[in-house]
């Protein structure tokens, strides 16, 4: 087989087993693309070439006894995940020398599956803690969308989004506190899987927010996301927030009822997205799914998330904030934001945690529907050279409780505007990743938006 940078995991695994291509050849090809395309889009934080090639050679030797579909497949990980032997800079110019002598659990699990870590991928510094306001809030500069270098790739898992969509890696890992997997997935035409909070171990991942952070796959299809999530999910005694409930993406479901948020597109002029959204709904209706209008109970979910991110983020990074390298951050808004966040009052933080108990009432929405389908954003990524406060207009986005309550979501492409992808997403109740997965798999069997590639 000639090298196809956009092959699915199953296609690549089959080619490896039939010796149509070797893991070493795959790795060399992906390294080449990372160094050219990946670097050109500012998607790469750190190449792991030497160890990747050594691991690929070993994978080739062991190919006949390979047990995992991921055996021998090169991937990239957001530079928020520690990997033994390499710097882990968290996207921050103030953490240039940082290195941890151990693998984050998701990296260790993928190593156990024989996957090859070929690069650490660019990210917004400190995953956006302190509240970033510019696309270039990163040690590696502004990361450009795979489809348009004049547009931002999204964040904070920027490099995971751009590099995977550009075919620089077989798949990637990202992380989300509040939108950091779904946003770059939308802006790069990827399928991104935000698992339930506690599904994937955060051990070895930078903490922005201990009670909100999730690690998940960013891939070129829902099927690939499922394979990767199955590999990295599971209880980890090193992360007390992980749970023992087993992931079962193949769980049998009746025809799922799709909830549409009543207020979606209210006052919005996003005509292109409105049509893409309507077309996607038509696909689900054709597949026999019932569609119902729903709404979240009106509560200040975003205020609670904001307070929690400020309080936990300031605590997690207190040493850095008080240290001599704090002013090295690329975005001065984050410097100001962290300084302010350091003074978050205990009563306000505890209000947010008490509010989270109240917000559980939002689970009543699952009496009316099984999944919620919504646009990820109303438009593609904003311009790469302007402040978000100038450009983030009529973007929409999930203002509900899904991140606060740890619900899973899968983002995937549903159309294009001006040559750049538009994303939709399924949101499901906690621990029901299977619903997001099965609905997106069904959509991607009927449509080819996920097969569109950057020129």
């Amino acid at each position: 087989m000639s090298f196809n940078p956009f092959s699915s995991i199953k296609e690549t695994a089959a080619a490896l087993r039939r010796k149509k291509i070797s893991s070493t050849e795959l790795t060399q090809n992906y390294v080449g693309r990372l160094l050219s395309l990946g670097r050109a889009h500012n998607a790469v934080a750190q190449m792991c070439t030497e160890e990747a090639l050594a691991s690929a050679a070993l994978a080739d030797k062991e190919m006949n006894s390979a047990k995992s579909l991921l055996h021998g497949i090169p991937y990239g990980a957001k530079d928020l995940l520690s990997a033994k032997g390499y710097p882990t800079r968290w996207g921050s110019p103030g953490h240039e020398m940082q290195q941890f002598p151990y693998d984050a659990t998701p990296i260790a699990k993928l190593r156990g599956h024989g996957a090859i870590l070929v690069a650490k991928l660019a990210m917004i510094e400190l995953a956006g803690g302190g509240n970033y306001n510019v696309p270039w809030a990163s040690a590696t500069g502004a990361c450009a969308s795979a489809f348009d270098k004049n547009r931002w790739a999204g964040g904070s898992s920027s490099g995971s989004g751009a590099a995977t969509a550009l075919g620089c890696v077989g798949f990637s890992l990202g992380s989300e506190t509040s939108g950091s997997i779904t946003c770059p997935s939308a802006f790069n035409g990827l399928t991104g899987f935000r698992p339930t909070y506690g599904r994937v171990s955060r051990y070895g991942a930078m903490a922005l927010c201990w009670t909100l952070d999730k690690i998940g796959p960013m891939c070129r299809s829902a099927e690939d996301c499922g394979i990767v999530l199955e590999a990295i999910a599971g209880y980890d005694e090193k992360d007390p927030s992980t749970f023992k409930d087993k992931l079962n993406l193949k769980r049998r479901n009746p025809k799922l009822r799709i909830g549409l948020l009543k207020d979606e597109f209210k006052d919005s002029k996003a005509e292109v997205c409105k049509k893409a959204y309507a077309d996607a709904i038509a696909v689900f209706k054709k597949l026999g799914h019932e569609v119902v209008e729903v709404s979240y109970p009106k509560m200040p979910y975003d205020a609670a998330v904001g307070i929690i991110v400020d309080a936990e983020g300031a605590s997690a990074h207190e040493h850095f904030i008080k240290g001599p390298d704090f002013d090295k951050l690329a975005d001065i808004h984050q410097v100001a934001g962290f300084a302010a966040a350091m003074e978050t009052r205990a009563v306000d933080y505890l209000w947010a945690l008490r509010f989270r108990t109240e917000a559980l009432k939002a689970n009543e929405i699952w009496d009316k529907c099984d999944v919620i389908f919504t646009p990820t954003f109303y438009h593609p990524g904003p311009p790469i050279d302007k402040l978000f406060s100038e450009t983030w207009v009529d973007m929409g986005g999930d203002g509900g409780p899904s991140n606060l309550l740890g619900w899973p979501a899968m983002a995937f492409p549903i159309g294009f505007e001006d040559g750049s992808p538009l994303g939709g997403q399924f949101i499901a109740p906690a621990m029901r990743e299977d619903r997001c997965y099965q609905m997106t798999i069904a959509f991607q069997r009927e449509t080819d938006w996920h097969l569109k590639r950057p020129v």
Binding site: N133, G155, S178, P300, A336, E343, W351, F355, F388, M395
Partner: protein, 87 residues
């Protein structure tokens, strides 16, 4: 990602801050509380951003004040007692 809420809040932050006099005056007059623990003084530009940030905080806290929690409700956090270990 940038929190959309932040920009939403920022757009209405000044009005919200004005309705919370104590917080607004803190934001505009005295930044020392927010900079005292930093290793280096903030630049003038950073101070300006900090003021804007405090207005955002005021707006967030206004939303928090407006939502009444039930009396005696529990925070959604659990301290798990674990075995002492040792011999």
């Amino acid at each position: 990602m940038p929190k959309p809420t932040r920009r939403e809040f920022l757009s209405g932050a000044a009005a919200a801050a004005a309705s919370l006099p104590a917080l607004a005056s803190t934001a505009q007059d005295d930044l020392s509380k927010f900079t005292r623990n930093l290793a280096k003084p903030l630049s003038e530009e950073a101070k300006a951003k900090l003021k804007a940030n405090l207005e955002y905080t005021a707006a967030t806290l206004k939303a928090r004040e407006e939502f009444k929690l039930p009396e005696n409700s529990e925070p959604a956090t659990v301290y798990r007692v674990s075995p002492a270990g040792g011999k």
